[in-house]
């Protein structure tokens, strides 16, 4: 990650990551007591998961709370190369995340509590936990997450903590019912935990003051590509993509498209992107979601097809190779896109991309093939004119890779 700057907001407000600074800003840990009071606050707040799926947080907590000897896991794995918000949050405000973890553990009556973070952050997080003697009621075990794309997937997280390889497993039950060693398990993204802490502190009404009625609150965005100051910014849901990029100093070059939602996300043509709200509702017409808040600006000097081929190649390489359709199909998709990107004029290539997409979608233990298809399908739509140009032996990118 290059320069990191911060917009004002509760998540990244601390000047230093130590406990004294955190306590100065937020006071004592706002314990909510047993009996689901926190769950009620989260329902009023309308908080949704910030790891990408956007599921209502209170419903997950409520499902886990009724189980026997529940497990709570804070998920800070961030294998997505375009995202930096979880490690930025853990670096800047570890105590906000740890407060949220404690409060979630209290709300569900957790018997065990884990924090799963990149190996580069385990020491930092352990130091923060050591500072909290007297503040915490639940012991937290720190487990290092490998920096692979799928290591943050819920079932892979549980596999890793159980001592197995961090790979997605087959799902016949929800982890809120049967997760770590068959116990009810709450896996919650670290940013979601930080929001839980803020909501417990300030109340649901304060949370709802930003964002939209349907999608309240703020989120951490990782802004990258051709913008003046790439980095992590806190912004309200529903902010127009153009205004989001303006937080990072705006465009550093003329843009042709914007990738929203990361490598499993979707492209938006620049003509629509800047006025589109960063919300599920706003992005739905483009087959996109805010995902984990990644926005990448593509300059006109880059070819969208080449960029998509590069990302697809990366995703193919990140297949856990457990599931046949993903292990076989993703490399073929990447290869086909690569041929299209470098100027192979075989007119059958677009159909081949569509055929391979239909072969891999819905066919895996996790959503890695589905996310890859989402990205590739959006590229074939948004860069349709570019596809025609390539098949005619040209490319619109000026001075970019061809």
């Amino acid at each position: 990650m290059t320069t990191t700057t911060f917009a004002p907001g509760p998540l990244l407000a601390t000047r230093t990551p130590d406990l004294a600074e955190h306590v100065r800003r937020t006071g004592p840990l706002p314990w909510q007591g047993p009996g689901g009071r926190l769950i009620g606050l989260l329902e009023q707040a309308g908080l949704t998961g910030r790891g990408g799926a956007g599921f209502p947080t209170w419903r997950k907590l409520a499902a886990v709370a009724i189980g026997v000897r529940p497990v709570v896991i804070g998920n800070g794995a961030e294998g997505e190369p375009a995202s930096a918000k979880d490690r930025t949050l853990l670096s800047r405000s570890p105590h906000l995340v740890l407060d949220g973890l404690q409060l979630a553990a209290e709300a569900v009556g957790a018997a065990d509590c884990y924090l799963y973070v990149s190996g580069t952050l385990t020491d930092h997080v352990r130091r923060a936990i050591a500072e909290r003697a007297g503040r915490d009621r639940f012991a937290v075990t720190v487990v290092d997450a490998p920096d692979t794309f799928v290591a943050g997937e819920e079932s892979a997280v549980i596999a890793r903590i159980a001592g197995r390889k961090p790979l997605p497993t087959d799902k016949t039950q929800l982890v809120v019912h049967s997760g770590l060693r068959g116990r009810p398990t709450l896996v919650q993204n670290v940013e979601t935990l930080a929001h839980i802490a803020v909501i417990a502190q300030r109340g649901p009404a304060a949370f709802r003051r930003s964002g939209t009625e349907a999608e309240p609150g703020s989120f951490l965005a990782t802004l990258g590509g051709a913008i003046a100051a790439p980095g992590v910014y806190e912004a309200p849901h529903g902010i127009r993509v153009g205004n989001l990029l303006a937080l990072a100093g705006g465009q550093a070059a003329p843009l042709s498209a914007v990738l929203v939602g990361g490598y499993h996300g979707a492209w938006l043509p620049i003509a629509d992107a800047l006025t589109t709200p960063m919300s599920r509702a706003g992005l739905a017409p483009f087959g996109a979601t805010p995902g984990a808040g990644v926005v990448q600006a593509l300059p006109t000097s880059y070819c969208g097809l080449a960029e998509t081929a590069r990302i697809t190649g990366y995703l193919a390489g990140q297949s856990a190779r457990q599931c046949g359709p993903c292990a076989n199909g993703l490399p073929m998709m990447a290869q086909t896109l690569h041929r299209l990107a470098v100027g192979d004029r075989d007119r059958g290539l677009p159909d081949q991309v569509a055929r391979l997409s239909a072969l891999v979608v819905n066919r895996g233990a996790c959503h890695h093939p589905d996310g890859t298809v989402r990205l590739v399908s959006s590229a074939m739509r948004v860069f349709a004119a570019e596809v025609d140009l390539h098949l005619a032996g040209r490319c619109s990118a000026v001075g970019g890779p061809r």
Partner: protein, 70 residues
């Protein structure tokens, strides 16, 4: 009922495709492909006995029948 495939166990041996052509076809790599394109294809009541046999005979134990409601 619906048919659930454990893709982490499936190695494309093809038994299920032979026993359950009403629901499954084969993809170019030999793995079962639900004809309806869904994640867990519906199994019509009249072919359920064959689906049970496919579950039983899968050499990788990668198949199971799950209730449609879930």
């Amino acid at each position: 009922m619906k048919l659930h495939v454990d893709w982490t166990a499936c190695e494309g041996r093809g038994t299920c495709v032979e026993l359950l052509p009403e629901v499954l076809t084969e993809d170019p790599w030999g793995y079962p492909m639900p004809r309806d394109g869904s994640r867990e294809p519906s199994v019509p009541p009249d072919v359920e006995p064959y689906a049970r046999r496919a579950v039983e005979y899968c050499p990788r134990l990668a198949l199971r029948l799950v209730p449609s409601a879930s």
